[in-house]
Amino acid sequence: MALQEVTSAFIKRMQSTQTPLKQAWKLQCLRTYATDPMQKELGELEESVHQATPTDAAGKRLSQYDPTQNAKQRKEQLPPSRYQFRSPRFYRGPLHPHQPLKSSDPASREFVPGPFTLPRLQQTYESTIAPDLMTLTYQHYPPGFERPQKGERLREWVGDSPYFKNRPRRGPRGYDVLPLLRKPITFRNVPKLERVTVHTMLKGAADDSAYLHVAGMVVQNITNVRVQTHAVRKSVASFGLRAGKHVSVTSELYGENMYHFLSKVIDVVMPKIKDYKGVKGSSGDSSGHISFGFKPEEVALFPEVEVNYDMYPPKMIPGLHVTVHTSATTDYDARMLLQAIGVPFYGKMVD
């Protein structure tokens, strides 16, 4: 009995190898039985197949390939298409069996395709600005040089009190915020642009939400990114702000959008501003983020606003705050990067 089974299976396989393309989908099923005891015999067979020259085999296959004919000859239906995971519409917590996909997965609901272009500014940065910055900030240390050891930034609690044991360390003397350390710049950590935040706060929005809508349209058109609105957290009577009212609009730009926005601002908008002096040299938060602003009449110079200026109520066009977040840890490095990109600075430089 067993011998009969083996021979019948062998004959079947012979047939399938003779007409491989007609039943290619069946062959795939056969492949799952690759661990059968038949393996040895098959191995010999396949060797003999491979002995023919590859071009011959390919020509033969090509002549046999006729998908319409195959479809007509097929008796039974093809198996249904592969199972596809459908990302759920709702996130129901980490314990739910049906978990959403990561946003990087193209099947995810939150997937954002792109980037679609290689912006000019990015190319300039990679080809010339980054190497230049690295050279400019290069600090040579002769071999065998050891850096002088600095004291601890956070002080220990010194005293007889038993409570000083295992107590968290004291903050630095004189100020309570630890400034970022500036590491020597190598090819790994050349300062680069990370993101740009465009922000506008509208005084009139507390009373009239039209300001918010107009500002949202302006910012979205300028930046190519959907805006987010922000509500007041705490009421401030002197500014006429009440908690819970939406008064400001921001959009965060990353990657492609960021580069396009910055190059547009630098090449087109800034030079068009009347009597423009540049960005104030004291701008920056001393950890590598530099911000500057545009007045309402300057915002009207953006090509996207200019192209259909009549669309916006002229009194509602907002001013903007633009914050450029760089990976530099000091304002000096960040300013150097921005200067290389083309942003002019004026006045006293504060680091």
Binding site: S87, R89, E110, D267, V268, E304, P344, F345, Y346, M349
Partner: protein, 164 residues
Amino acid sequence: MALMRPSLRPSATLQTPHIHQQVRHATLLKRPKRPYTFTQLITLSDGSTFLHRTTSPAPIYKSTKDTKNNPLWNPSSQKLLNVEEDEAGRLKRFRARFGRGFDVESLEEGEEAREGEESVPRERQEESLLDMISSVGQEAEKKGKAAGKREEAKKSGKGKGGQK
């Protein structure tokens, strides 16, 4: 880019697999909205062009004033400093007719400067070059140097504004 998506924020617990808290509500995973963008060709005043993505449907944007013809971005250009808007040549004709000797001279000088930008006396050029060389070695005064450089640029910008 994807990390900061607002709709991802409620599912922040996803990133800490060790703390499992049962959530009884469901959070809608919104599809991110993006404005439609077009490819636009920006033509700068000197004829150079580049492409960018923008929400503006105009296929070409021609700029009349940009980094290529703004003295703030070109502090060493004599041509841009003495720029005089005389497209129809009316001012020139007026000078030719009523101008005094010094007016005519200044006009000729300006034109010379416009052709080749070498109207700056040689000594001054050398001075500026020496300035650059001497400041290279001073590491301690790095910051001061940067500041000084910028202030020059600012002056040139002022000069331009005054002419308007």
